[in-house]
Symmetry: C2
Subunit: 465 residues, 2 copies
């Protein structure tokens, strides 16, 4: 068993909270520092709108929580989710009518889960609150760190003063604009890139039906609750994710130039026309005045892609989640990858925890963090790239015949010839726990085989129908 | 004529000083803020060793100074340079003896110029000192900027206090770790990447001969003063650049792993062996004890490649030089590109300076800075990439037959068929003023032609000798 260490976690979002939980379960002294106030405090303004309210939770995130040593956590979390078994594409038929097309995510019927970010976060904080070796420090902003001397300084908002904190290990789970990463860059030669994607996003809501549906008065959902709804617009996209109260949280993704054009029309009639043209049916779920109000009141936010290497410095600091690999939301893996970081980080720390002659806790942590960077950065780069590529898939490729054909062939192989171990890339990412970089490698290999198989089938006249 | 503006320049290196000179010549109120103390102050510790002492000045840098409105500047600067007309490769012959091979930079005999960074910097500061509309603020560190409200805050080292400064335009010439760029990133969605190259560097000196050479008692240079000397080591490299006092400033470039191995040998005999094996003749110019002392006392420093876009924010801030595009030193273009930034920036500001109805100085500056980013970022990316590629050329390709062949063919075309406008890439970069991105495009075009021509010549049996 490893000696007790002083571990500070910067950032009390879902990823930081899970990291604190893992550390606390190992008996360490844990302190959580959070820039904002406690989101459970009723006087706190609701979560700022710079992060999406709804998230897709899938196997990697669940698996990370499964290993947190808190069986109740999983039960509670899972109880507050809505399974989405596939995409529901909303299209316009040639004759002008509306059409829906369901594309299941998985040939074996597995679903991803819609979950409320705030609810998950609160649940994790509640569990941490009960642990004797965990302390919270809200309204604390990291201003400086000496990672050679294991000291950090936080500005305390209420007191307008600075406090100095000593630690053995600082875990930065403080998001895309991470202050921990910023401090690490002063101590290590970090390769770093940030890239803004040529897309902005804005949130909308589809309200629940007041009286349920005709068939079922308890069903308040206006569209299928068990799908992630997509209105693919080729160059832009509108999506909807279900919430427990019967509403849907919706997001418009479009290039800044499109936003600028729509913003210029102050009355909003152009916005309604734009929706009716490219996202058929939406205005029957969101009344135009509400659509216009949301567009004008909710922020229009950018998307950023961040890669960095290393993810750690020496034995004293490591970044996880968006702080290490902020990604675009199109694979629904951002939070899942962050939660998986925590599982892999602590697995690696455990591996080096055995006391051996001539080693110290710090020297063992240094080895563990070094291995963590070596193992995890290729996977972080891989899922960042996949997330970018999936934007094209969601808004355009889903409509193409070749995409549908490949999906059908792969699913058939997966179901009818299970011993081949064939799986779609989507299934490997969302329903498995293999390293992301391995998923990419396997998927590339499968692509070669599929191409050969298709050629064979075509030239052999097998008829794939 | 443009209205008088308040322009602050952050960074008093060569690029910042030239920017201040351009601004002052246009009648603006100019203030220069520099983190360090005045390098002309004799009590100031010599320039820190994080930048190389010697630089290669070439056409782009000269041209930028030519347009600074100070005829004396060019005369004075040029008087303190040493022309280097080519590379001198130092090799070992098959029989073990030493060989030198000179490769001229230009078929038309043009040279690049070795110059002392400190001397050039002092000359620029002296000229600025005489201008009534320029003020200096040394020991001032930028801590924060509000680029929407055109305010900046500097920490004053001596007084340990903070001052607030108003400005119309802030020009950031504050190097690779630019504080101005850092502040800009809070206001604009900047794509940014920094990458550490797998190479460290360390400086050495070849001392002048005490009594000159036998042939000329005034010639204190131990090796040719009119060359940039290269000991190409394939995976590493040693270079020497002449100084006016007869010495040479030398640099070892090698991967960190090689440095680590050499550092581990505290007596330094491995270092001497390493030099004798890969850099033949060096230890006859630098006595081994001096070589070892330099390696142990001088810092071992990293190389960084930085790209960012945009280079400006609105009408209030712009970065130039290393702050915008730190590059590796292998094309000798770092400072030249920075000085050229200044010329192009003020050209662009001038273009939009004409007062027109409905415009303000700020709205015209916003247009100019927008154009500056659009025009300059492709060139900044191009020279960054060229500089990286040239490391391979300097340490390895110079030795290859195909490299020598292409150089010979291109130079022959340039000299004997001048109306073709044929020039080597090196000549276009170092002796011309075409945009870097255009140089790359033309060079790629020439490469295609050369390949065709070589094939023709070979298959046609023309014999290129």
């Amino acid at each position: 068993m490893e000696e007790k260490q002083r571990i500070i976690v910067v950032g009390a979002g879902p990823v930081g909270s899970l990291a604190a939980l893992y550390a606390a379960n190992r008996g360490h002294d844990v302190e959580i520092y959070e820039l904002r106030s406690d989101l459970r405090d009723p006087s706190t303004t609701p979560l700022n709108f710079t992060r999406s309210i709804n998230l897709a939770l899938s196997e990697r995130g669940i698996n990370a929580m499964r290993h947190a040593g808190q069986p109740k956590l999983i039960d509670h979390v899972m109880g507050a989710t809505i399974p989405m078994r596939g995409r529901m594409l909303h299209l316009r038929k040639r004759n002008g009518g509306l059409a829906e097309e369901s594309q299941d995510y998985d040939a074996h019927g597995r679903s991803i889960l819609a979950i409320d970010r705030g609810g998950l976060n609160k649940r994790l904080l509640d569990i941490l609150e009960e642990m004797p070796n965990v302390k919270f420090f809200f309204n604390h902003k990291l201003t400086r760190a000496d990672l050679e001397k294991n000291k950090a300084w936080f500005h305390v908002r209420e007191a307008d003063s600075s406090v100095q904190v000593d630690f053995d290990l600082m875990i930065g789970a403080d998001g895309a604009h991470s202050a921990v990463r910023q401090q690490m860059m002063k101590f290590t030669r970090m390769d770093y890139s940030q890239q803004y994607i040529d897309t902005l996003w804005c949130e909308f809501q589809i309200q629940p039906r007041e009286n349920g549906s005709e068939a079922d008065p308890n069903n308040k959902f206006r569209i299928s609750p068990n799908h992630l709804h997509i209105w693919p617009g080729r160059n832009f996209m509108f999506i909807a994710i279900p919430s427990e109260d019967g509403s849907f949280t919706c997001t418009l993704f479009a290039p800044p130039a499109v936003f600028a054009e729509l913003e210029a029309d102050l009355k909003g009639s152009q916005l309604v026309e734009f929706f009716d043209k490219f996202f058929p049916g939406v205005t029957s779920h969101i009344p135009p005045p509400e659509l216009i109000a949301s567009f004008q009141q909710n922020p229009h936010l950018p998307l950023i892609n961040i890669k960095c290497k290393p993810h750690h410095f020496s034995s004293s600091a490591v970044v996880v989640g968006d702080a290490a690999h902020a990604m675009v939301p199109f694979y629904g893996q951002g939070m899942n990858a962050g939660l998986e970081d925590v599982r892999i980080l602590f697995n690696t720390l455990d591996k080096y925890a055995t006391t051996e002659a001539g080693t110290t806790p710090a020297s063992r942590r240094a080895l563990a963090l070094n291995e963590y960077t070596a193992v995890r950065t290729p996977d972080a780069f891989a899922i960042n790239d996949l997330a970018l590529q999936n934007y094209v898939e969601m808004r355009a490729s889903v409509l193409s015949t070749s995409y549908r054909l490949r999906k059908a062939i792969e699913e058939a192989l997966s179901v009818y010839v299970p011993w081949l171990g064939w799986q779609t890339k989507y299934s490997r990412v969302s329903f498995g726990n293999e390293p992301y970089s391995l998923v990419v490698a396997k998927s590339e290999h499968q692509a070669v085989l599929i191409t050969r198989f298709s050629a064979l089938a075509t030239f052999g006249g097998a008829g794939l129908g």
